[in-house]
Structures are given as C-alpha cells and as structure tokens.
C-alpha cells in the first residue's frame, strides 16, 4: 500500500548475512527473534488491515490517498534525518483525523492562506492538554492542499521517557532547541509553534481566549530563515477542560508545568474532553525583515503585530459562533 517503505526493508533483511551464533543465550534469543520475525509481520498485517478498514469507514479513502501526496524528505531507510517515519505518522494521524472529523467536528477556515514550502505556524495554545496541536496537525493533513505533515518541538525531558521519546521522534516531533527549528525550516517543513508555551495551555477558564505573553524566539527564527508566519486561531479548545484554578506552588513542588483544578474530572466520563466544536482559522501569511539579533524591544514590536492578529482572529471567532458545542 505504501510502496516507498515496506519492500525496501524486506529486501535488505533477505540480503543480510547470517551470523553463526555460539552461546545458548544467543541461540535462544535468535529463535525468539526468528519467531518474532515471522509472527510480527502477520500481526502487523492484521493491525494494518484493521486500521485501514476502520479508517476507510470513518474517513473515506481520503487519508490513504492524501498520504501519497505529502512532500517528505526521506532517506533510503524510510525515515528522515530527524527520525520521522511516515508509517508511524499514519497511525497518529488517523487517530487525530477521527477526533478532528467526528469528535470535535472541526471547521477549517482560510485554507488558501497556507503557503507551500517552509512556514511557521503560530497559534494560540489552550485546553490543558495539547489537543489543539493534534487538531492543527489533522487540519494541515486533511484540509490543506497539498497535505502537509506538521513538525513541532517538544520539551527535552520527554527524551528521557521510554517509548515517548521514540514515538515523538517517529511522528516528527523534535527537541525544542533553536538549531533544530532552523534545520527543519531549511528543510522546507511546516513548523508549529505556540509562543505562549505552558502559560497558554494551562489558562484558567476566566482567562479564556486572552493571549498570554508571547516568547520572542519564533520571530528571530522567522527573520533569520526568511520564513513566512501564518497566524492561527483555535476556537473551541478553551472549553474542552474547564479549569477553575492553577495551583502553581503545588505544580512547582511536583515539578509539573501546571496543576489545574478541573471539577469535570470528578464526573463519570468527565475525564474525556468535552465535545466542543473546534474552529481553526488560518490567517494571511505575514513576512518580517530586519536583523534577527536585534534588541528585544525591536522584536517585541514585531511579535506584538502577530499577537494582535491572532487576538483579533480569536475575538471574531468567539463572537461569530452561536454555540460552543455545534
């Protein structure tokens, strides 16, 4: 189904030399490996087919067809140099796409504003857990033409967690350092950044749709790599989890980024986000020029323009919707 990946690896395995094993442990492990090698493709086939039929039922044939049209920079082993593997991304995306279409029933506006080639996607951050990132990712894949995979940056401590570090890297998330962002943009990727960071996502309900302070790093990056900025407003995320307070002292003590108090967690089923309707708007691309190493005050002015644009897009979005849930 995805010819750019599977045959390559299978050929190589067949060509690889057989190494004679000596010790008992080696024999045992190789037997286990041999079993795994024959059992895994079978299990994988079942899972693959299961997901495929499930996807086809929920999303139409669209997802697979789109998968073939995404521009990616893959090496001969089917991964890019950051460890991104489209085969893994397929599963992450199909889950996000189901939420996108059927749970949050996202409306996407301004599809024509996303340029091809390198782009910095700057969005408001909300909702206690980063579902907004997944929804923007799903929108970029399901609704934008040509479909794009988004790349985002993660905290470096995520790299110390088993499975999480591997999953993040395979679905295209990279460690949040400026060098990585620069390298991704030079590779003409679409990079999603939330300049509010943790301040934005852990907002309490009374502060909803009011942008928190923006970081300046994204602006320096945009100027340095000559990348257009697409402002994005996400409406609907703030109501998915209603947080009435954020216990910062406790969060600091527990070394967590935030400790929100969410009464809905006590209700049966309240652990799930509320099925609000998401409305994602892509604004017109903004270009900035100047010296990327300029003073903070100069950068702040430019960042303020982006922040204002997103804030007014948010205000309009909130005002024009008739109901939170439909």
């Amino acid at each position: 189904m995805y010819p750019w990946l599977v045959p390559l690896r299978r050929d190589r395995r067949a060509r690889a030399p057989q190494i004679p094993h000596s010790s008992a442990l080696a024999t045992l492990a190789s037997a286990a490996g041999g079993f795994a090698r024959s059992a895994f493709p079978f299990a994988k086939k079942l899972v693959d087919e299961g997901i495929e039929t499930w996807m086809a039922r929920l999303l139409g044939e669209e997802l697979s067809a789109r998968m073939d049209r995404v521009p990616v920079n893959l090496g001969s082993a089917g991964v890019d140099r950051f460890g991104f593997d489209p085969e893994w991304a397929k599963y992450a995306l199909s889950a996000a796409a189901v939420l996108h279409r059927h749970y949050f029933r996202t409306d996407v506006f301004g599809k024509e504003n996303v340029p091809t080639g390198r782009v910095l996607l700057i969005a408001n951050h909300s909702g206690q857990i980063p579902i907004d990132a997944a929804m923007i990712g799903a929108a970029m894949f399901m609704d934008i033409d040509p479909p794009r995979f988004i790349r985002a940056m993660v905290e470096k401590w995520t790299q110390t967690l088993p499975f999480v570090s591997m999953l993040f890297s395979r679905v295209g998330q990279v460690v949040g350092v400026p060098e990585n962002a620069r390298a991704l943009l030079e590779q003409d990727e679409a990079l999603l950044v939330f300049p509010e960071g943790a301040r934005g996502i852990s907002k309490t309900f009374d502060k909803r749709y009011q942008l928190a302070e923006f970081g300046l790093g994204f602006m320096r990056l945009a100027i340095e790599t000559n990348t257009p900025i697409v402002p994005i407003s996400v409406v609907g995320g703030e109501e998915q989890y209603v947080s009435i307070a954020n216990l910062q002292g406790l969060a600091k003590f527990l070394r967590m980024p935030a400790f929100p108090i969410m009464p809905q967690l006590l209700l049966p089923g309240g652990q799930l986000p509320l099925p609000t309707k998401y409305r994602i708007t892509f604004g017109e691309p903004m270009r900035f020029t100047g010296d990327p190493d300029d003073d903070d005050s100069v950068m702040e002015e430019k960042v303020f323009l982006v922040k204002q644009t997103i804030q007014s897009m948010l205000n309009r979005g909130v005002k024009s919707r008739e109901n939170i849930f439909w």
Binding site: A16, G33, G34, P162
Partner: protein, 312 residues
C-alpha cells in the same frame, strides 16, 4: 609550506592500532612514514620506520630531531576502559602535551588530531545535529572520557597559540570496521541488547573513510575543527536490521543495573555510562567537513555497517 614537500616524512603516533596500520598502508605509498608506538609493528611494510617507544619518553625527541618532519597524525590515544584513571590521564594528556611541545620546538607545519564526536556526549537536550561550536559535555555523565575531552581542548588551545602550525581536529562519529572500539564490538555481538522504548538516530562512519579524511587533513592549507558525519543517519533498530541480527530490548533501569554488576565482575568491556549512546542522540552536523574540507564518505551506509564483520 613544507607540508607540501612530498619527500618529508609524516609521523603517525599509535601506528600499531588497526586504524594506524590502515593509514600507514595508504600513506607510505605516497611519502615517507615514521611510526611511533610502544607496541611492535608486526607485518610492517619495509619502507616505514618504526620507533617503538612510549610517547612520554624523552627519546621521542630524536624522531623529530633526525629529519624535517612534515606533519604529525596523532592517533595514539588510549581508549582502554579497564586501564586505571591515572594511567589513562598520564598517557593521553601528559603524552600529548609532550608531543605538542616538540611540535612547537621543531616548528612542524601540520598536526592532525583524531578526536571523536563522543566529546559532545549523548544528552536528552542535544540538538539533532551538533556543530563544531557545541560545548563538549561528554564528560558530564561519563567521567572516564574526560581525558579525551582534555586532549581535544589541548589541541584547540594549541591551534590558537601556534598559528604557524596548521592544526586539524577531526571529530568522527562512531567508527565501524575491523577496529576494536566500543561501537564495532557492540554491533559484533550475536544478539544486540537495546533499551526498551528507546531507538535513537545514530551516525556511523567506516574506518576507510576516516583514513581518507585523515589524508585529506594533511593537505596544506587545511586547518580547524571538523565533524565527520558519515553516510545518512539511521535509527539504531534499522542498523540491527541491516546486520540481520536479533535485538534484545531491556528496560533501562534493569539494563543499567546489570551493566554495573557485569562491569564490576569484569564480564563486559562496555562501561555502564555508554548505555547513553543507545538512549539519546549524539549526532553531528558535518557541513563544514563537506564544504571546507571537501570530504565525502565513499562507503554506503550498508557497507559501513556490514564492515564490522569484514575480517571474518
């Protein structure tokens, strides 16, 4: 510059290592080669002069006194993780400092030092591709390699102090081939242990490519620090696939405990902190060596990986 002089000899320290022998075999066809190593050079080509002595000995001076040496390739770094810390330090740092003294005294026009990308160290917060300017943090989690970082630093300060000598520092990623270093030995294991839930991207380079880079670095006019990145990076799991071997995923805490126990019982040659290499990324940006040095790895990624079993 006299390093252009093809008749002047090149001194190779640590010539009896596998990499040293390979370099000597390539180089002695083009120009005179003098080897320095305390080990004997068994099947030495006839035209290579071999001084079997310790780098720390005064006698080393005679090697330089006898002729106008065109350049030095310093490979004589001790990597034995079992050697005592004191011996390690005295050999690697004191020996190298001695060598630098002679380079300055006899105004040798070229010094090539083979360092390693390990000096950057695998860290959770590493950029995917570290440039030559990245800090050398390798010692923060793995104290035993501090003297290798010190050698790199000594060479760097020498670069600034003695501009009349063209100093080149090469930092290759994991070298694979017939060499008996940790990454090659690791991939030679019949079943390759990995850490459950970790599959970092890894760069490897074939020893013949490293020899080529060393030869390129001897070219007059070349100086500075260069990362050598090898062919394209791959996830560790794909490397094991290419070798056609099975892997044995072990949870980190268990693996770390086992390694420590095995290390103290002398059952393994891998020091426990090296587990970080199969946990976090430590990859380099080799743009500078590609553009300024004009060095491109000639071996494909498959050949590079399969070369760990080449001498079977």
């Amino acid at each position: 510059m006299s390093s252009a002089n093809i008749d002047a000899p090149i001194v190779i320290t640590g010539i009896c290592g596998r990499l040293g022998k390979r370099l000597a075999r390539v180089l002695h066809r083009e120009r005179p080669v003098i080897g320095v190593d305390r080990r004997p050079f068994a099947d030495k080509p006839k035209d290579i002069l071999h001084a079997q002595l310790d780098l720390r000995r005064k006698k080393l001076k005679d090697v330089f006194r006898s002729g106008n040496v065109a350049g030095i390739v310093h490979l004589g770094v001790l990597h034995d993780p079992r050697a005592s810390a004191e011996e390690h330090h005295s050999w690697n740092v004191a020996g190298f400092a001695k060598l630098l003294e002679y380079v300055a005294q006899f105004k040798i026009p070229k010094l090539v030092v083979l360092s390693s990308a390990n000096v950057y160290g695998p860290q959770p917060g590493n950029a995917q591709f570290l440039t030559e300017d990245a800090p050398l943090l390798g010692g923060s989690r793995f104290g035993e390699i501090r003297d290798l970082i010190e050698v790199d630093m000594l060479a760097q300060s020498f670069f600034w102090k003695r501009p009349e000598t063209e100093t080149v520092i090469l930092r290759p990623v994991h070298i694979l081939g017939s060499v008996h270093n940790a990454p090659s030995n690791f991939l030679r294991l019949p079943v390759i242990p990995t850490l459950l839930g970790y599959d970092p991207m890894v760069q490897v380079i074939q020893e013949r490519d490293v020899v080529n880079a060393l030869r390129t670095a001897l070219r007059p006019g070349v100086k500075g620090i260069f990362n050598l990145g090898g062919p394209e990076p791959l996830p560790l799991s794909r490397i094991i696939d290419i070798l056609g071997k099975s892997s044995l995923p072990i949870p980190f805490s268990l693996g770390n405990m086992m390694m420590k126990r095995m290390w103290s019982l002398h059952l393994t040659t891998f020091p426990p902190p090296e587990l970080d290499h199969i946990r976090y990324v430590c990859m380099v940006d080799d743009k500078r060596s590609r553009e300024e040095l004009g060095f491109l790895p000639a071996q494909s990624i498959e050949d590079t990986i399969l070369s760990v079993h080449a001498d079977r």
